[in-house]
């Protein structure tokens, strides 16, 4: 009993020292159970967001208005599937299988980013998602490249590179619309009006109401607070919106000399909570499509497993 407690204490000291020295924690290293659970929860939610996030954009693949845009969009949606793959693999290093995590997604026990519960109503939404949603994701994720857990940090390095392509492509799509016909311009402005506030909500609740933040910061899973990242995002977007020739739908948005940041209006956290609770415009639709794809694919996965068993093939 005493030796075991002493051992646990020694392991914990090694773990704490690694964190303090900004070293990476690797899959075989000892780690506290809650650290492991927090990482699995966060990586799973992130992976789920990548694959659910394919839906609103795939919605426009078959209607993309030029072949060049169609190729860009298809490649983007494919990238998101790839991000899902990296992240499920990173979560597997902590002993949780992709099947297990998908099961939790399908049964509603794990979440995905609420932003994907909004609909893509026009082609301009594809641009707004790239510019704002991928943009917010990058702001959130760049610090994760220095996350204390090695496999997660390394997955994020690859992902962030691709997300920054997506962000630029989205911006460029909106720029083409904003410089286009009156109808195209209006389409772009309408999309930005609808996606701006949900994008700000992507950073999570304000710091004083965030449940997991403090512990995650101490573990160096998280490096900056929600409000800090949100402010950083607003500061990046305002000049970009100006270059686009589009307005952001916030009358209180203005530069504050004393803070050295843009001030912005209050966020409707009631809407955030409602969407989180399942009452967003597309929650049911997204999870239904995901479940259906999974269920309709069951016979394919069974066939692959049966074939592999017969032929001694390593399973895909």
């Amino acid at each position: 009993m005493t030796t075991m407690a002493a051992d646990a204490g020694a392991y914990e000291a090694v773990f704490d020292a690694a964190l303090a020295a900004d070293e990476r924690i690797e899959p075989r290293d000892w780690m506290p159970d809650e650290y492991r659970a927090t990482l699995v929860r966060q990586m799973a939610q992130h992976a789920h967001s990548e694959i659910i996030g394919m839906q609103p954009e795939a919605n426009w693949i078959t209607r993309a208005p030029s072949l060049r845009r169609k190729a860009i969009l298809m490649a983007k949606v494919q990238d998101e599937a790839g991000h899902g793959l990296y992240l499920y693999s990173a979560a597997e290093t902590l002993g949780t299988s992709r099947d297990e995590l998908l099961d939790k997604l399908h049964s509603g026990r794990q979440k995905y980013s609420s932003i994907f519960n909004y609909p893509t109503l026009t082609w301009a939404d594809v641009g707004a998602i790239g510019w704002l949603v991928d943009g917010a994701a990058i702001t959130n994720q760049v610090p994760l490249c220095r996350c204390s857990y090695g496999p997660y940090a390394r997955a994020m390095v690859r992902i962030c590179k691709e997300e920054s392509f997506h962000q630029r492509q989205g911006y460029e799509l909106l720029l083409a619309l904003s410089r286009g016909t009156e109808a195209q311009r209006a389409m772009a402005q309408d999309a930005v009006d609808r996606w701006w506030w949900p994008s700000l909500m992507m950073f999570g609740p304000p710091d004083d109401a965030s449940a997991h933040s403090a512990q995650s910061m101490a573990w160096k899973i998280k490096r900056h607070s929600n409000d800090e990242l949100r402010q950083r995002f607003v500061d990046i977007c305002v000049p970009q919106a100006e270059s686009l020739g589009l307005t952001l739908p916030d009358p209180e948005l203005r530069w504050s000399e004393e803070r050295g940041h843009y001030d912005f209006g209050p966020i409707d956290w009631d809407e955030f909570r409602e969407v989180l609770r399942g009452n967003g415009p597309c929650n049911a639709q997204r999870i239904t499509q995901r479940r259906r794809a999974h269920e309709e694919g069951a016979w394919v996965r069974e066939a692959a497993a049966a074939y592999a068993a017969k032929h001694g093939e390593a399973q895909a």
């Binding site: 693949i61 208005p65 190729a71 286009g180 016909t181 794809a293 016979w299 069974e302 066939a303 692959a304």
Partner: protein, 233 residues
Amino acid sequence: MTAALALGDDALVLSHRLGEWAGRAPVLEEEVALANIALDLLGQARVLLSLADDEDELAYLREERAFRNVQLVEQPNGDFAHTIARQLYFSTYQELLYERLAHGSGPFAPLAAKAVKEVAYHRDHAEHWTLRLGDGTDESHERMRRGLDALWRFTGELFEPVEGCEVEWHTLHDAWLTRITSVLERATLAVPEGPRRGGWAAGAGRQGIHTEPFGRMLAEMQHLHRSHPGATW
């Protein structure tokens, strides 16, 4: 440029159909694989159509009767086995055709030389899944059989000579049938019986005669572009 349109439309239309799978594939790896194939085909289509005229005008502003693709590629996705059957028939054909074009001296030789590598992967992917589904479970075997049977009647058209492609169509056909027979045997599946084409005397798709689902596919594909005449995107 009959040939550029024929080959370009094949690639454009099949790419579109594969794009419909996005977000609906049976496993995440197949989201990536199907998108890869769709992207390769779209890339080929853009080069080929640009040889003929403006790629977007051709893709978005032609009426159904002006498209020159074979009917096989416009067939709706169906279940995963149906899609794989379509992929197997088409990619086997496309690889054999592009190999020949790559070795020829015609205007498509450079494109074909590049595309044949991509298409070899598409064919490999289709064969891989034909084996797994054919020799997997009873259900997958049955679904694969149904897909192969249903699409068999669209395979004759693949070997209608295309003006401008210097290819021996007879030997191309024989090579195709040999290859398909061998894959299906390994997959414990029978080569379908029955006619290889519908009742049209014409080359059907190659002459602009398509099947009903194609019009609806084009309506979806062209709607936004046509709603904003003259706009750039």
